[in-house]
Amino acid sequence: MLFLDELAEFPRNALEALRQPLEDGAISIARVGGRIVFPAGFQLVGTMNLCPCGARGDPAAECLCSAARLAAYRDKLSRALLDRIDLIVTVPRPRAQELDGASGEASEPVRARVTAAQERARGEPLRRSKQANDLLSRAVERLPLSARGRARVARVARTAALLAGAGEVGAEHVAEALSYRSPTELGAR
């Protein structure tokens, strides 16, 4: 697991260097003396704010970032890198009573669910229901969704169905996958 806090604060070339290992699970370094390939299989997790000052999206704060500064910040993540990130979630600032609320699910049952899903993933691949296919085609028509974006939504929908223990990929799984697209703020879908 590679966790990068404040993703957009890293230099762009450092972020771009992640593309190859994300794709191949390996890093190859070429020097005069030859070429060495290191294993680099990892899951990338990153966090970032919606703007450099961090106030954007927070109703209690005032964002003072200029349009140019905002654009430069968001341009840090290239479209190619965003295309390789499967799940993007925007987290609005929680309210006090929401923080006080009951804590979420414990990790143990989640682990059991993930293990079971991984087990099922090794079996026969799940098919998409007719409704799921319809929703996916409608999404491609109506939303700015690239070919790569469509493939990603289909893949994430399959994972959602596996986690739910469903027998096929249903419309609700495609819908859930659609909600993890990169947001408009990052300029890509």
Partner: protein
Amino acid sequence: MSDLALAAFAAEVGRHVVEEPRERRFDRFRRSFDERAYRTALAAGRLRFVGRSEPEYPPLLRELHDPPAGLFLRGAAGIELLRARSVALVGARACSGYGSQVARLLGRELAAAGLVVLSGLARGVDGEGHRGALEAGGDTVAVLGCGVDRDYPAAHSQLAARVCERGLVVSEYAPGVEPAPWRFPARNRIIAGLAAATVVVEARERSGALITADFALEAGREVFAVPGEITSSLSAGTNALLRLGATPLTRAEDVLEALGIESPAAPTLELGEGARAVLEAVSQEPAGVDRLVRGTGLDAAAVATALAELELEGAVAEAEGLYRVVRQ
């Protein structure tokens, strides 16, 4: 006198020139100016020019006390697009998620009602207004504060190309003129001058969009302001406009009514039970997925399905993690 010579002279000396200058430099320039060659070069770059003394010059623009000597045009549409009834959508470049959604919504609905959506191609509100109009398959015109051949900002060159496909990019400034801060207020007078009404979506105090609103008021045009939160400095400019007597805009029909245009009947949505419950919750206040799960009693998968349905119907949109109703 030649309007084109005046425009070319302004580009040559890097000044804002509206009236024929009484100076030797201009006389010399005019004597050596080859209008035929200049027009040939324009045509080669697929650009056009319409001068103040020509009958095709937009009549609303002529009403300004300092109408530009002429406009350079780029794009597929004919010059008559500048005579069609249009509405200016202007506002902050660093706008909020709310501002960009409102701009997109208004661009879409005003264009769908047959109005031309005018703006300045800038980031934020301007760009969203153009995008909304394009989404509706409507007409949109971008007015630049630099040479007509430039895509400014560069990040919007693709948007400019899409505007050109069926609309126009226009500028008072000849090809090659660099963008400069002092040119933008002058550009704003053209946006306000071409438009029958100006809508300010989100603006800080002392924002360029307020300059556009001032020009519109001066020209006796309708000015609308979209109300915003009183605690947000991004709404300080629009709320100040409202205090000064601008018409509050709460739906696209407000503009249509003021211009005496019948609003097209909105298609009714056929929604599932879950989608209706989520729409009801979102219309009370913008909310993220977690809050919708708690508020509606539906599980996360049902909320996701409902949101996907509503988003595809164009009823809600997400920005900064919050879903909002974008169609009334």
